[in-house]
């Protein structure tokens, strides 16, 4: 087993990986940009190395800086997390060439399955239908011609992409050149790779993905599906397992296709096969069709829902498999139990086009309790900056069934307090979870656009009680003996309250 792992990432996923290493008795080295010197993942690691200034291309995307840090600190493996260099085959190869272990698939497997073209070919060879698409050339002329053949609307996607970064829906041929240019810039910035891929747009699909795992001993399993259809700006915001759409027969067919593909290419470590499944409106004779979309050759953001329903720790499994151990269970051992939902808590304003609304987090109070898990990268006193993804945390619940899980998530969202400059999507998520279409499991990928296009919070004017509480807070603060000076984001906004302890509940009032 490894002695010391460098985590080539930041935020909640770096914290998550450090945590798994701590439980396994493996030392950790964090890396950070200047923007993250005080970040949670830096505080929790055993060691931390500054790798550059805030822009990702100068720090978290700087393969050489990260390799140098790993060498200098005597690491024997690197975990890339998701995003940044996680799907960069050259980086995986460079790690291996440096004599370290890359905790993920081989560079070669990444090139086969990470490229949409070759992954689609591999899946077609395995008998799985794929979404029509085009990646043969990168010239505008060829792409425009290909789009005409696919038929509009087409999707413009970053070849190296994920998470909606670089993605554009183009309905009008005249808009394609501008979309290509813009998507290339965004892709280059996010992934260091500006290649573009065109895909036919399937209408009203569910986005359903299968978690797969392969090891160096020829074993491959799937860990069932995640339903990821609730998206805004082409990015998942609510994920769950099991999918309310799949029946056992379709679940089995898709799982078998996923495992066959993994085995066919000798894929090792964690990966995810994404499918589009036509909703019930597209079913022929009651049979749903599914299309392979792409493979993500890394851990997914939404891996905790799989961990919740299968009871398997995917990060520990990644580490064990990378260290050469066989997968310690067979397909028959794995069962889904209960129902898990994840909500991504973003510093963004859902009433304003989901634009990031970043800044300080003065107070963050996470919900806790049976069946509730919070994977957070930001805590009280931190700042969400413009440099990176504005996700504050992932909130995951495990309930006995779907209705119980929805109730638990609504409880957790209602008890998640985040105050500060940031505006969060929590009220929006609550409305999504409470929507009749969500309750019915009828969450196609256009659900959010269709049902929440003009979303606004239920009320703009605070209730009288909010005025009362704010005034009371002001009085208690003044009465604490602390000068009633205003507190800025770098000070301590909470101490006046703590000193107000002497205002205890009056017991004679009832």
């Amino acid at each position: 087993m490894f002695r010391k792992i460098l985590i080539a990432n930041r935020g909640e996923i770096a914290v998550r990986i450090i945590r798994a290493c701590q439980e396994m008795g493996i030392a950790t080295v964090a890396v950070y940009s200047d923007a993250d010197a005080g970040a949670l993942h830096v505080a929790l690691a055993d060691e931390a190395v500054r790798i550059g200034p805030p822009p990702p291309r100068d720090s978290y995307l700087c393969a050489d800086c990260i390799l140098e840090a790993a060498r200098a600190r005597g690491c024997d493996a690197i975990h890339p997390g998701y995003g940044f260099l996680a799907e960069n085959a050259d980086f995986a190869d460079a790690v291996t060439a440096a004599g370290l272990t890359f905790i993920g698939p081989s560079g070669a497997a990444m090139r086969v399955m990470g490229s949409k073209t070759s992954a689609r070919a591999a899946m077609q060879a395995a008998g799985v239908p794929v979404v029509p698409g085009y990646q043969a050339s990168q010239t505008d002329a060829d792409l425009v011609a290909a789009a005409g053949e696919l038929g509009y609307p087409v999707l413009v996607k970053a070849t190296a992409g994920g998470g909606g970064k670089g993605m554009r829906v183009v309905a009008d041929p005249g808009d394609l050149p501008a979309a290509l240019a813009s998507a290339r810039r965004e892709a280059a910035n996010a992934f260091g790779d500006d290649r573009i891929y065109l895909e036919k747009r399937i209408l009203h699909p569910h986005h359903i993905e299968f978690q797969v795992f392969g090891d160096a001993h020829g074993n491959a399993v799937h860990l069932f599906e995640r339903e990821c259809s609730v998206q805004r700006r082409h990015q998942k915001i609510v994920e769950e397992s099991p999918s309310p759409l799949l029946d056992d027969a379709l679940r089995r067919r898709m799982g078998e296709a996923a495992v066959a593909a993994v085995k066919a290419v000798g894929y090792t470590n964690a990966g995810t096969l994404e499918f589009l499944v036509e909703g019930l409106s597209g079913a022929i004779d009651g049979m749903l069709s599914f299309y392979f979309l792409e493979m993500n050759t890394r851990l997914q953001v939404e891996h905790p829902v799989t961990e919740a329903v299968t009871g398997i720790d995917l990060v520990k499994l990644q580490i064990r498999v990378a260290a050469g151990e066989p997968i310690p269970f067979t397909q028959a051992d794995i069962r889904q139990r209960g129902h898990a939902i994840e909500c991504r808590i973003y510093a963004e304003d859902p009433a304003n086009g989901f634009l990031p609304a970043i800044g300080s987090v003065l107070a963050a109070v996470e919900p806790v309790g049976p069946g509730v898990r919070v994977d957070a990268g930001v805590t009280s006193g931190d700042t969400v900056t413009l440099h990176y993804d504005p996700m504050i945390a992932k909130l995951i619940v495990l309930g006995e069934g779907r209705a119980d899980a929805i109730g638990k998530m609504l409880w957790a969202l209602r008890h998640y307090v985040i105050l500060g400059d940031v505006v969060t999507n929590i009220p929006f998520l609550r409305d999504v979870l409470a929507h009749p279409r969500f309750a019915a499991g009828d969450t196609t990928t256009d659900f959010v656009d269709e049902c929440f296009a003009a979303w606004q919070p239920a009320a703009f004017t605070p209730p009288d009680l909010a005025f009362a509480v704010a005034a009371l807070a002001e009085v208690l603060s003044a009465g604490s003996g602390v000068a009633a000076s205003d507190l800025d984001a770098t000070g301590d906004p909470t101490s006046p309250w703590q000193q107000a302890n002497s205002f205890r509940m009056g017991t004679g009032a009832r």
């Binding site: 970064k165 813009s182 810039r185 965004e186 910035n189 304003n352 634009l355 990031p356 970043i358 003065l362 107070a363 109070v365 413009l386 990176y388 504005p390 209602r414 008890h415 307090v417 105050l419 500060g420 400059d421 969060t424 929590i426 009220p427 609550r430 919070p457 703009f460 004017t461 605070p462 009288d464 009680l465 909010a466 005025f467 009362a468 509480v469 704010a470 005034a471 009371l472 807070a473 002001e474 009085v475 208690l476 603060s477 205003d486 507190l487 800025d488 984001a489 906004p493 909470t494 309250w497 703590q498 000193q499 107000a500 302890n501 205002f503 205890r504 509940m505 009056g506 017991t507 009032a509």
Partner: protein
């Protein structure tokens, strides 16, 4: 001893009267009178009993703003000084502001240019995303206040239309 706090949210302004009693407080918001017992805790926590109902609220202050988390909702209230009446907002209609902090990638219009609703005027980059600042209506560019490469704050005016 009663104290009056002036608070504002959007266009709504309230004078809130807080009076300390034996075991707690009587708080008046307009015609609404609350009997409140309060206990402060960590991180801005306030354990309240309001007219017999227990509530866990959070309140933190930042500048003149007090943020209150109550029953799953977050409210932002500004403390105002009734002696200094505000003279109306400074926003000129027709000005386009940055909705978030970021960097100006490109400015696609020049002063005097005629623009049609939906035209992209400025390209902003932030959070690894590209944002288009588009014309909300037909008009003419009065002033361009940023240049490519500039770093802008939220609310900063980028372009003025007329």
């Amino acid at each position: 001893m009663a104290r009056t706090i002036h608070l504002q949210s959007g266009e709504v302004e309230r004078a809130v009267v807080v009076e300390e009693t034996g075991g707690g407080f009587v708080v008046r918001v307009g015609e609404h009178v609350f009997a409140i017992a309060a206990r402060g805790g960590e991180g801005g926590r306030l354990d309240l009993e309001v007219d017999g109902r227990r509530l866990r609220a959070y309140a933190v202050r930042q500048g003149a703003q007090t943020q209150v988390a109550l029953d799953g909702e977050t409210w932002r209230l500004e403390r105002t000084d009734p002696r200094r009446r505000r003279t109306g907002r400074a926003e000129a209609s027709g000005s386009l502001q940055a909705a978030m902090p970021g960097r100006v990638l490109d400015v696609l219009v020049a002063p005097g240019a005629a623009v049609t609703r939906g035209d992209t005027l400025v390209l902003l980059e932030a959070m690894k995303m590209e944002l288009r600042i588009q014309a909300p209506a037909d008009g003419q560019v009065a002033r361009v206040l940023v240049t490519p490469g500039a770093v802008v704050e939220r609310g900063q005016v980028l372009v003025e239309l007329e």
